[in-house]
């Protein structure tokens, strides 16, 4: 990601929120990253739950995680559970296509802070970020 040597640039980067978009679908990742960029949020991507967990194992930190549910290797439910077991306190928002109530409950019980149906809209994202920005 871009950095700046000027104090103004570094200060601006310090205040910028960082998001992790976890989704196995390239189109969805592209859309979400663009949505976040528009909201002045720095975004990284992970192709599945395992890659997301690895980000945290590498010591990376984020202000918000947008987590898809159905992914290969490791799904969003398992990834969320593992991240919470690791002590990750970051806001995790499930963003998934239509799920049954039981699937939604399972996902929430894994440790989600919130849940939205794909695709996330700009107003929904702004609401989510308000909470994160206020922490």
């Amino acid at each position: 990601m871009a950095t700046s040597s000027s104090s103004t640039g570094v200060d601006k980067l310090k205040n910028k929120l960082r998001a992790l978009v976890v989704d196995d679908n390239r189109m969805i990742r592209l859309y979400m990253v663009s949505l976040l960029k528009k909201a002045n949020v720095e975004a990284e991507v992970a192709e599945d739950g395992k890659a997301a967990v690895n980000c945290f194992l590498q010591g990376k930190t984020y202000d918000i995680i947008l987590m898809d549910k159905d992914m290969p290797q490791m799904d969003g439910v398992q990834a969320t559970r593992i991240l919470r077991e690791m002590g990750v306190k970051t806001k995790i928002v499930g963003v998934t296509s239509h799920s049954t109530e039981e699937e939604k409950r399972e996902f929430l019980e894994a440790g989600l802070d919130d849940f939205f149906v794909k695709p996330l809209t700009s107003p929904q994202l702004i609401e989510l970020l308000k909470d994160v920005g206020n922490k």
């Binding site: 390239r26 189109m27 663009s34 949505l35 700009s122």
Partner: protein, 151 residues
């Protein structure tokens, strides 16, 4: 004079795409992300969609020809396709993807095959329509803004 006529044509074309159910509100979300820094964002995303989705559909076609069918694999491919279609607001294609997945759940091969033909048809029609739309849009330049129906 000619410019405003082109603008009207573009607006009419877009309205038709929505009125006929080819696109839904998500397309407006894409347009909202287009700006001076990314003046061709929507067309780029749509181009990427058709490239990705064509590959997925080739995989589905191959999987449908296998015997015995792996409905789980078919459903997985279609789940991917549906996710992509929803990201650009390709409503008709998305609806056919949903139907296909229902047939997968039932283990209904015949249903899957019929449904997949519809997916291909809607995909091809949308591709043609959006190609024409973007060709016209390029003629008027990056001034067209998102306007949801009804205001």
């Amino acid at each position: 004079m000619e410019y405003s006529s082109l603008q009207r044509q573009v607006a009419y074309m877009k309205k038709r795409l929505f009125d006929q159910g080819y696109l839904d509100e998500q397309f407006y979300q894409l347009e909202e992300l287009q700006d001076e820094a990314n003046p061709n964002f929507v067309e780029e995303v749509v181009t990427l969609f058709f490239r990705d989705s064509s590959r997925l559909m080739a995989n589905i076609e191959q999987a449908l020809e296998k015997c015995p069918q792996d409905f789980h694999r078919l459903d997985s491919f279609m789940h991917q396709l549906k996710g992509s279609t929803s990201s650009i607001g390709a409503l008709r294609v998305k609806n056919e993807c949903t139907q296909f997945r229902e047939y997968c759940d039932e283990g209904n091969l015949d249903g899957c095959q019929r449904s997949f033909q519809k997916v291909k048809r809607e995909h091809a029609v949308l591709k043609q329509k959006l190609k024409a739309y973007f060709q016209l849009l390029r003629q008027i330049g990056p001034t067209e803004r998102a306007t949801p129906p009804g205001g």
